[in-house]
Assembly symmetry: C2
Homo-oligomer: 636 residues x 2
């Protein structure tokens, strides 16, 4: 995952053992050498076989047929070929970027076999469908230390994502050291910011993995954290404080004063030197216009220029930004609120509000990328994201030339309700599915195959160091106070966490609210419930009966654990429902396996009970309802 | 864990929340400040509550009543008092070392409560029973990178161990950079060694946690890795290679040549500067004497000095080492083979062969520490180690003065069959139980209480960063090839790994054999089987029935997974036995719950079947036999 463009299986397999080695031919590139070293380390972890690399003939040969630039660029040739035979493997690529992708594909093909580990014989020809395949990470709402970023870059590389969109400032925190304007981080970050040396480390780390780093400094809105240090940037009245709540705040930058643009010219100039990528994201979303409407200065400025509304004022601001960026050699990218005529040549629009907006951007002559439909913080099931195509929906009406200006998309991880501990499990494995949407041919749409491969890749990704699976049990142990409490795990496996929308409606969240509850530990999609849905589909009564028996008995063990325990107490009704579900499921299995008919109306009554149980409690939904519902519907 | 010397619970509890803060009084010690910072970070992870530390009144006050040296020393006052009331907590200690212990105790007391997290009101007066409470880690047989060492130092500190005995050289690898004799690491380490800067990092890291670092360079035997670089150190004929197998090799140092002592004088002088501790371990174990007997030079030397045997030759060598160590300001410590009269003043003997040898060392006038009975690599159950007292057995005959020369003991982690991935789970949580034996009063011996607290501390230790629990599921995923395979987990939970002895008899192990099998993933003691033993003791039929049902059904799911899978295939008979056990257990429950008598002879037949199942297969034993056996014995 992502599935290659072309794959033909051969016969036999290449053994992967202690003597596994890699050599290069035509690649005088330190990145390939480093990637080969990482490959050996990864395979060694993945198989548990110490690989000393001291053997005679190489197992994998990497051949680059051309030279590559130092830093990746939009539109680079990322293609590669991978040939595996029982006697060896070869990756051929025109540039280092494709060779890196080929290495990741090779890693994913390693499987246990009758005599150890192997890679099946295969011929692969692969290239990406879209050149812009991104992951956006918000490090403002909750701080993400450098190791979190680095491990996610490794995982991005593993699934061939090639743009790390780094949302570096927002109302809740300004996260980059500016030497020119040090009060930005001093007063805007609570001490949580990346030094310039750390930024360089991340950029180099990404580059070595074929990943571009596109920084985002969101403006003129979502800028509360700029103002404690530089209150003159806004037309509003201070004193200003970093935002602790979430949502859209009134204070925004003052577009009417030249001093604002002088500041931004200096700031963007400094950042342009720090981030080598050609693209620079200036945000531009969610300006509510209230402050501009109330500011006599801004109103006078608007009258003077003949601006009719907030949109026109923002267009002026965007154009000025475009000029400043051009001066510093950068191409502008912004959220779809900036969409207006004459934004300036080259501008890229990132669409988050709806898919029609992407088509509008393209028709307006811009290039575009799609983020709508790929919001990981909504905790939607993988199949939802998988079903959304950057060139689908309203884009289907576009001409081929217009379609070619849809560059790809980005999975977005906003961090209102995730922190450094939980962020990995909210990104992975679902972002791998989005990566497949961006990389693989549009015809690759089989959901069952996707889920099967997603679960496999989820386990493989653990060897990259990402913590999306590792943090689950410790978070559950925390809930039960260090006791051995399998009942908490049974319940956790049976529920799914709600996403941003219902959670912020359920309670008042701020940046300081602990994210230590069941909803934070529970997965966006339950693997075990999915297994039971498959079991229900093929009526595997043994597997279903085992699960239902455990559920039915779980509540009696769970309830005592919840006594005097604030974190478990809110789950009491959920646990009770799970036990009921187990009982209903067992009863349904009895009817189905004995082929007796249930009493008239019984199924309807049960379905009504399930309907009631489907209502979320404690910000989790009882996913376990689904397989039981499938059984009941079979009986109807 | 370890249980404090004196603990009195009060009423009420101190809430632990986002406003948790620490202050010091009388402690102008950077170590306390750093430890307080770590405490806040740890509590924040353990509770999931972001702690900004910006509150008004402090939650925990630490008061040091005296000054401490820069580096810990044997016999330092490690006592502390901890008072917790609903309004605050206070640690009082005469030295930084006790304050550090008090902080760890405080951490362990944090528990979930009806309104969040809390520490119960308590008055604790605590001090260690023994001053030498060690963990020995062998980094020669398998290489342990710096992060492995660091995370284990954190965990040692958490259970109040205060000596890190670092076994830095053995036949299979020389692991320290010598600038004076660089061929030691160049030809003796396969590139896996600690630079001097890394050694300093580890020593400082340990010191900041109140842990002394005692280096061991094992000689004159277990020195194969010295000879590829410096063949003149041995009387044998080269060329020499690093050892790949395990056991006792013939080549040892040549005690007859002055050049050997000149070399060691230089080397020990260099290492004495690197390791500030007053003690220096010279090994001295397992010299088989073969090479000395065959060497004309050594034999001439022995005749000249009138040495009758290997022991007398080694005594000469040990005395010379004692002189060299004394010159460099170090006190000698060695394994019990060096025990001879007149070894030199101050010598400490570390006993590994049997407990009588410790008493012998003491009677001979030396000080001693006990390692026999604390060999973690044997994978004995925690209760075995718990039952061994450094002052017990033959030592009970000693006088009070003699007993005072028993300084404590060390848990030993030899690394023939563990690597960086598996070592944590072989050390923890069992080493915590040994730590309790060394710290807590001799009267603390309740095994049930120990297991209950060990399991709690095992979960808490995860927050220190040690991987003893985290690596379990990924290792199982590796076995099943990234598929979701709960049946493999069910089997793994039901077995226990065999220790060094039976494993090296089962197959020919070398340093290159992969440690990636079920036996490497399986725990030394199964938590879930222990839970079932407790359930069997109180006849909790519901819990037993659930487990037995899962076991009985597991084999049908497991066997297909084992097809074409070398790592799972060896477990097929174990899985079959587990299913049989489940069936027998269910049958036994039926008899017990219906109070019907089983047919004559039925119990005997089942017990015989269990006896056969108790025979290890694939280097694991089927721990699940135990609770079923308990039920059957109840029926007899």
């Amino acid at each position: 995952m992502p599935l290659p463009a072309k794959i033909d299986y051969g016969s036999g397999a290449l053994s992967i053992g202690a003597s596994f080695t890699v050599t290069f031919s035509g690649c005088a590139d330190a990145r390939i050498a480093a990637a080969a070293g990482r490959l050996v380390t990864r395979l060694s972890r993945q198989t548990g076989i110490p690989m000393t690399g001291t053997a005679g003939s190489p197992t994998l040969t990497i051949e680059c047929t051309g030279r590559s630039a130092d830093y990746p660029a939009l539109g680079d040739d990322e293609s590669y070929r991978l040939d595996v035979t029982p006697s060896g493997a070869r990756i051929t690529a025109p540039a280092v970027w494709g060779a890196l992708h080929g290495i990741e594909t090779f890693t994913q093909l390693v499987e246990p076999a009758a005599t150890g580990f192997q890679v099946p014989a295969v011929h692969i020809e692969d290239r990406p469908r879209f050149p812009w395949r991104g992951l956006m990470l918000d490090v403002s709402r909750h701080w993400m230390p450098v190791p979190v970023v680095l491990r996610n870059l490794d995982t991005m590389a593993a699934v061939k994502l090639n743009v790390f969109h780094w949302h570096l400032s927002d109302d809740q925190g300004f996260r980059v050291e500016s030497k020119l304007y040090p009060r930005l981080q001093e007063f805007g970050s609570d001490g949580h910011f990346y030094t310039q040396s750390e930024i360089r480390q991340v950029v180099n780390y990404a580059r070595d993995r074929g990943i571009r780093v596109v920084p985002e400094f969101d403006m003129p809105g979502h800028t509360l954290s700029w103002f404690p240090g530089y209150p003159d940037l806004t037309a509003g009245r201070g004193p200003f404080e970093i935002g602790r709540h979430f949502g859209v705040f009134d204070p925004v930058m003052d577009p009417s004063r030249e001093s604002t643009y002088e500041f931004l010219d200096g700031f963007i100039g400094e950042m342009a030197g720090l981030f080598p990528d050609a693209y620079f994201h200036v945000g531009g979303d969610e300006v509510n216009g209230k402050q501009w409407a109330q500011s006599p200065g801004v109103q006078a400025f608007a009258r003077q220029h003949g601006f009719a509304d907030t949109k026109e004022i923002q267009l002026y601001f965007s154009r000025r930004l475009h000029e400043i960026l051009a001066k510093h050699g950068k191409t502008m990218i912004g959220w779809d609120e900036i969409l207006q005529p004459d934004l300036g040549p080259g501008t890229v629009i990132e669409t988050w509000r709806n898919q029609a907006s992407l088509a509008d951007s393209i028709r307006a002559g811009y290039r575009g990328i799609l983020s709508w439909g790929y919001y990981l913080d909504h905790l939607s099931p993988a199949k939802y994201h998988y079903g959304i195509d950057p060139q689908g929906g309203p884009a289907e009406q576009l001409t081929p030339e217009q379609l070619s200006r849809i560059l790809g998309g980005e999975a977005c991880m906003w961090s209102e309700l995730v922190d450094a501990e939980t962020v990995d499990s909210r990104i992975w494995p679902r972002a791998a599915v989005i990566a497949e949407r961006f990389w693989s041919p549009a015809s690759v749409t089989d959901v069952d195959s996707m889920y099967q491969r997603m679960q496999a890749v989820s386990r493989q990704l653990e060897w990259t160091g990402v913590q999306h699976r590792a943090d689950y049990q410790p978070m559950l142990d925390r809930l039960s106070g260090d006791r051995r409490a399998p009942a908490v795990r049974v319940l956790a496996d049976a529920v799914e966490a709600l996403g941003l929308g219902p959670r912020v409606r359920a309670r008042q969240y701020t940046t300081d609210v602990p994210l230590n509850r069941m909803v934070d530990a529970a997965r966006p999609e339950s693997e075990s419930v999915r297994a039971l849905e498959l079991a229900a589909a093929r009526l595997d009564t043994a597997a279903l009966r085992r699960a239902f028996t455990v559920w039915a008995a779980n509540d009696a063990v769970f309830q005592p654990l919840a006594e005097n325990n604030a974190l478990l107490a809110e789950l009491r009704p959920v646990s009770k429902n799970l036990a009921e579900l187990g009982t209903i499921g067992l009863k349904a299995l009895d009817y189905l396996s004995t082929r007796r008919r249930a009493p008239r109306g019984w199924v309807k009554v049960q379905l009504d009970r399930l309907e009631r149980m489907s209502k979320p409690e404690a910000e989790v939904s009882l996913a376990a309802v689904r397989p039981v519902k499938m059984l009941l519907e079979r009986m109807e």
